[in-house]
């Protein structure tokens, strides 16, 4: 099971004169469930943006399936999906249209066009919205009219509908009540079943602040001031580890 899907080699990211990520080395193996811990401003969001190829690091190399992003084609790159901390939905589109945006990668231009005209099929979108406990009456509501928790779940549904093998989630439990948190956590960590025949292992990295949710993860990474302080199995997590990063 130890095949590496994502790898960071000596990554640094500088913004003006601030060193936001500092010489990060990280290997993420297929099927791993990783929790990313660190206090506010420690660089979690930046790390996730480097991992999904949105930010180019100032130094070092990111490898997805042992290749750099430039060498990969669009289909391979679309194997990563992200739930952003600030959601990044399209405010003027409806909830179901936003969820359908997750399907853009596997469909052609005509699908995008139909989605905007509101004449595409929303069957799959509705299925994932239901899984996220979103109800009928918000399907065709504009994002700007939704509550914080509803928006959060639309963003999660948009990401899950991509059925990608690698999921990066940045504080996905924001704005959710305790019951929803359990539901969503299970959805995020659940293995995908795209081919209906076999469960393919899903690699998940979740940045979070809730230490009580760590139980379902295999690994914990602690980051502080843009540096990885520890990268260990969850069972080995001790109090001193947490004292180091908080």
């Amino acid at each position: 099971m130890n095949n590496t899907v994502l790898e960071l080699e000596n990554i640094s990211y500088k913004y003006k004169n601030d060193l936001i990520l500092n010489k990060i080395n990280l290997k993420i193996n297929s099927g791993e469930k990783i929790a990313l811990l660190g206090k506010s401003g420690s660089g979690k969001t930046t790390l996730i943006s480097v991992l999904n190829g949105t930010i180019k690091p100032t130094q070092g190399e990111v490898k997805l399936f042992n290749k750099s992003f430039e060498e990969l084609d669009r289909k391979q790159k679309s194997k990563i999906t992200t739930i952003w901390q600030d959601l990044r939905l399209i405010e003027d589109l409806s909830a179901e249209q936003n969820v359908n945006c997750g399907l853009l990668a596997e469909n052609n231009f005509y699908f995008a066009f139909k989605n905007l005209l509101n004449i595409s099929s929303f069957k799959k979108a509705h299925k994932y919205m239901k899984l996220c406990r979103l109800h009928n009456f918000i399907y065709d509501k504009k994002i700007r009219k939704l509550s914080g928790g509803q928006k959060q779940r639309v963003a999660i549904a948009r990401s899950l509908i991509q059925e990608s093998n690698i999921l990066l989630a940045d504080e996905p439990f924001n704005n959710l009540d305790p019951k929803l948190i359990t539901t969503i956590k299970n959805l995020l960590l659940e293995n995908v079943d795209k081919n209906k025949t076999k469960k393919s292992p899903k690699t998940v990295l979740v940045a979070l602040h809730r230490l009580d949710l760590l139980n379902d993860f295999d690994k914990v990474i602690g980051i502080r001031d843009g540096k990885i302080f520890f990268n260990i199995k969850r069972n080995n997590l001790k109090k001193i580890h947490l004292e180091k990063i908080y």
Partner: protein, 500 residues
């Protein structure tokens, strides 16, 4: 209040100082020969000619104007949106195209935009002869460039983060592009596109004055034959058209979730593109370029225009723009502030409406009844017309503004005019000035229209050179024109940035 402080409020009033040189020249040029004519012109406003014959003419001419206006609007809005996409930076980001191409396209569009549709019209008429479709083409050329700019600017407002998130989905590039630009494009069309229809109808009227046809031509002919009662029939019918179209568009609500309507729009969209292209090809291959024999004539014809004359014309055009802008900025707040009561307000609103309604060449011709042609007269005309436009904006903004300060100041016993100035206008001044900066871009372009008729500046020279087929001079005048407009736009851009 004993020291004049330079703030936005005083800056809105200071430009009225242009009235000193302006008034001086106007008084020196006064003549009383046409006083009776002027009187007749005014009286006829209340007594337009109405009979069966003229009503039929009005309907026929209005039809032509609406057709020119509508088709040029349709073509220019659709191509404006398309070129807007291709010159927006979101397009270059998604497709990883080097951005110098975008700089080149923008520069090219700025040049096209800097030349007024009347100038395009006059040039095209000289080349192809008078022709209905010349009107449409003449309006479309600068309008496409203007619309392109507006669409591109609206596309710049797309949040960079939503771009990143859609990009990260790794969809086909055209899918990502379409998904991101969809709403900005539709919103721009709703907020700006419909207003442009009114603009293109106005432009169709003005081109009519120069012989393209439609109600504008009738207006011009009736003025030429001093048939003022007929003139006012045309003017009032134009007013009704503009008011009606405004009302209709306020009622129309675009429902983008309506499938049949969406499909209808798409069909119109593609038909327009198809039609424009085939017409474009037809136009190119089916016209003998009678007067424009060959490009080489550009380099052959001897240049009658001396450098000194040329510089003088440029200077005249710049002064004309400055004087008109001064009037357009300061006159509305001054008049609204001084005559600040309800009955006067209605009077001012009607007067401003008339100034907007009556095409500038007609205002100029009217003023010529008691003043000899001069630079100041042309400036007054252009200034008044644009003051009609700026005052509409000022009225609208003052009406929706929170009036608590004003009421509080009045109840403290502060004089009404002072309370209006400090409690009401001062809060508007900044945005008003920003709008005026934008307006002055347009004024620079419009100097061409009054220039042709009032025999000042480059506009007049253009007419002269065209009628003697001196293409080299025409080219030089056009270059001078667009340089002034581009420099003006750069300066105004700086001013606007500092105001917003």
């Amino acid at each position: 209040m004993n020291k004049l402080k330079l703030n936005y409020t005083s800056l809105s009033f200071l430009p009225i100082l242009v009235c000193i040189p302006l008034g001086y020249q106007l008084i020196n040029n006064i003549h009383f020969g046409g006083f009776k004519l002027f009187q007749e012109f005014l009286i006829s406003a209340f007594n337009p000619k109405i009979d069966n014959e003229i009503i039929i003419t009005v309907i026929k001419r209005l039809n032509e104007t609406i057709l020119i206006g509508f088709f040029s609007w349709l073509v220019s809005i659709i191509f404006g949106a398309i070129f807007g996409i291709f010159s927006s930076n979101i397009f270059y980001k998604i497709f990883n195209i080097p951005s110098f191409i975008y700089v080149i396209i923008r520069f090219f569009l700025t040049i096209i935009r800097s030349i007024h549709e009347v100038v395009w019209g006059i040039i095209l008429m000289q080349i192809y002869g008078i022709n209905f479709s010349i009107g449409i083409i003449a309006i479309c050329i600068p309008y496409i460039a203007v619309n392109t700019k507006v669409f591109a600017e609206q596309l710049e407002t797309i949040d960079y983060k939503s771009f990143e998130s859609i990009n990260q989905i790794n969809a086909p590039k055209f899918s990502s592009l379409l998904t991101l630009i969809w709403n900005p494009i539709i919103n721009t069309f709703k907020n700006f596109g419909l207003y442009r229809l009114e603009c293109s109808i106005r432009s169709a009227v003005i081109l009519g004055l120069f012989g393209i046809g439609g109600i504008g031509t009738s207006i011009f002919l009736s003025f030429q034959t001093l048939n003022f009662r007929e003139l006012w029939t045309y003017l009032w019918s134009l007013a009704i058209l503009i008011i009606l179209s405004g009302l209709i568009f306020k009622k129309i609500k675009f429902n983008t979730t309506n499938k049949i309507l969406s499909i209808f729009f798409i069909v119109v969209f593609f038909l327009t593109i198809l039609f424009s292209f085939s017409y474009f090809l037809y136009f190119i291959f089916n016209n003998n370029f009678e007067n424009f024999n060959s490009v080489s004539s550009l380099f052959k014809s001897s240049l009658d225009l001396g450098l000194f004359d040329f510089l003088k014309l440029i200077l005249e055009t710049i002064i004309l723009s400055l004087l008109s802008t001064g009037i357009a900025i300061s006159l509305p707040p001054l008049v609204i502030g001084i005559f600040n009561n309800n009955s006067f307000k209605i009077f001012i609103k009607i007067f401003a409406f008339l100034l907007r309604l009556i095409p500038t060449p007609v205002i100029l011709l009217t003023l010529l009844t008691f003043n000899n042609p001069s630079l100041s007269l042309a400036a007054l005309t252009l200034g008044l017309h644009n003051a009609g436009i700026t005052s509409k904006l000022l009225f609208t903004n003052l009406d929706i503004q929170d009036k608590r300060n004003y009421i509080a100041m009045k109840s403290l016993g502060i004089p009404k005019k002072t309370s209006w100035l400090l409690g009401l206008f001062s809060q508007q001044a900044k945005s008003y000035l920003a709008y005026c900066a934008y307006r002055s871009d347009i004024i620079i372009r419009e100097t061409a229209i009054v220039g042709v008729i009032g025999s000042v500046g480059l506009g007049w020279q253009l007419q002269e050179s065209l009628s003697s087929f001196a293409w080299q001079e025409v080219a030089i005048v056009l270059i001078a024109y667009s340089s002034i407009a581009i420099v003006g736009e750069l300066i105004n851009g700086k001013i606007k940035n500092s105001l917003t």
